[in-house]
């Protein structure tokens, strides 16, 4: 599935919730199902700065696609990163770089998280895109060669 389609699915899912509590309960569930990062990657190098809770993200390139794994010590944060990973994992680096992030607003995450917490969210998106950029840059010389 394309990133855009996945994002539309996520928006559709979130639109079914009547209040914040259902939305949070869903995020907590998502957090619990997050693909756990391997212990060897839970290091300071993989920490995202700017979050109140700890967030580790690792990326691998498998068959031209970026596969993200992550973990956090806070469950709601895990839910947020799980949503981001669902949208961006198993995608080509160029597609991740080009992807819009408006869906975060549309599912009421950014709006309902205070600016200091939203900074964490912004940092997470930025980190996913940085990984994609790194893979994309590595690919460039091959292309030319």
């Amino acid at each position: 599935m394309q990133i855009e389609e996945i994002q539309e699915d996520i928006i559709a899912e979130f639109s079914m919730f009547e209040d914040w509590m259902q939305r949070y309960e869903y995020m907590i569930e998502l957090g619990k199902s997050l693909p756990r990062i391997e212990a060897q990657y839970k290091t300071d190098d993989h920490l995202i700065k700017g979050c109140q809770s700890k967030v580790w993200v690792h990326a691998d390139l498998e068959d031209d696609k970026v596969v993200f794994t992550a973990d956090s010590d806070a469950i709601i944060t895990k839910g947020i990163i799980a949503i981001l990973i669902r949208a961006f994992s198993n995608q080509k680096p160029a597609d991740i770089l080009a992807a819009k992030t408006d869906f975060i607003d549309e599912i009421g995450l950014k709006e309902h998280l205070s600016p200091t917490r939203a900074n964490g969210l912004v940092s997470m998106v930025k980190q996913l895109k940085l990984y994609a950029l790194a893979f994309e840059t590595q690919r460039q010389p091959e292309k030319k060669g």
Partner: protein, 404 residues
Amino acid sequence: MFDVAEIRKDFPILARMVNGYPLVYLDNAATSQTPRQVIDVIVDYYSRYNANIHRGVHTLSQEATDAYEQARTKIQKHFNAAHAHEIIMTSGTTHGINLVASGFSTFLDNGDEIWVSAMEHHSNIVPWQMLCERTGAILRIIPMDENGELVLQPFRDGLSERTKLVFCNHVSNALGTINPIEELIALSHSAGAAVLIDGAQAAPHIKADVQALDADFYTISAHKLCGPTGVGALYGKEAWLNRLPPYQGGGEMIAEVTFEKTTYAALPHKFEAGTPDICGGIAFGAALDYLNAIGMERIAAYEGELLDYATAELLQIDGLKIFGQAPGKTPVISFNLEGIHPYDVGAILDKLGIAVRTGHHCAQPIMDFYRIPGTVRASFSFYNTREEVDRLVAGVEKARQMLS
């Protein structure tokens, strides 16, 4: 009589709705709310007599100068300083600490010792580390125990003629512990060391008498005392303030300037370079008036009852642990739910309109001591109610159910 319902009417912000619920503001240790009486003073200043101070011959400038200097006198009286010129107007507690740290860099030698307590705010650790880097002085730590109380014995044993400075908060921002600063000051003085007390967290709850305490320096922030942000005061004994070199150069702090030499102004202006937050200073004075009209003793008595009630109620919750259980505490409760990150609890409470602080509270060494990433901190003020405590308890219980 202490009528909390009447007092709440003074605070417009307390009528706010947050996320569909009436606001329960329990982040008072971060900043207190501002009563109408103080807001009115701010509006009045800008509406009627906004002018630069200490220089103008015109009426507005004189009125502003008078009001600003009256505020200084109010601060002096509130903390029972011997002289008004021992009150240096600052931008807040951190500014006061840096002013003293910077001044002491000229007095310290390689191998001199500075002591700080293990429960300091980062603002009372980092300036001293920087001072030690500049001077070669050594930073030593007064340890704390599991209860969140200072352990003075290592400090007693370690005091010597090398001990030059001791820094401690009157009350810990993360735990609410009231520290034994009387004893700490007496011990430090017996070794000939100067003492700076960070009074930021104590001032809203305890009326410190700097002369009775015999503190050399005592520093506070207005915004924790129902005043505006960006304003504070540093008390310093006259003799110390005369010895310390100026902190910043600029206007206001000079007596005479030629290109050959500048003579510094007398106290307090020597430490007050540039145009200060005039309105903020005046509003700070008004905030002290407001608190004193209610009475600091009555505030402390009411807050004590609220703390006892909240502590007992919160401890009913399964798996809730309170960090900092010293017998002498200001109304601060730092807690965690077993196996749940404080951030998650804070996020749920926010959705319920309840404002608390989560994280390490700028006191990472304390969190390291307890080996936790942070805590949820509910900090109360005299305008909080038992009903708000009940809302907090119900909110924490709700968070526990959702997050377990």
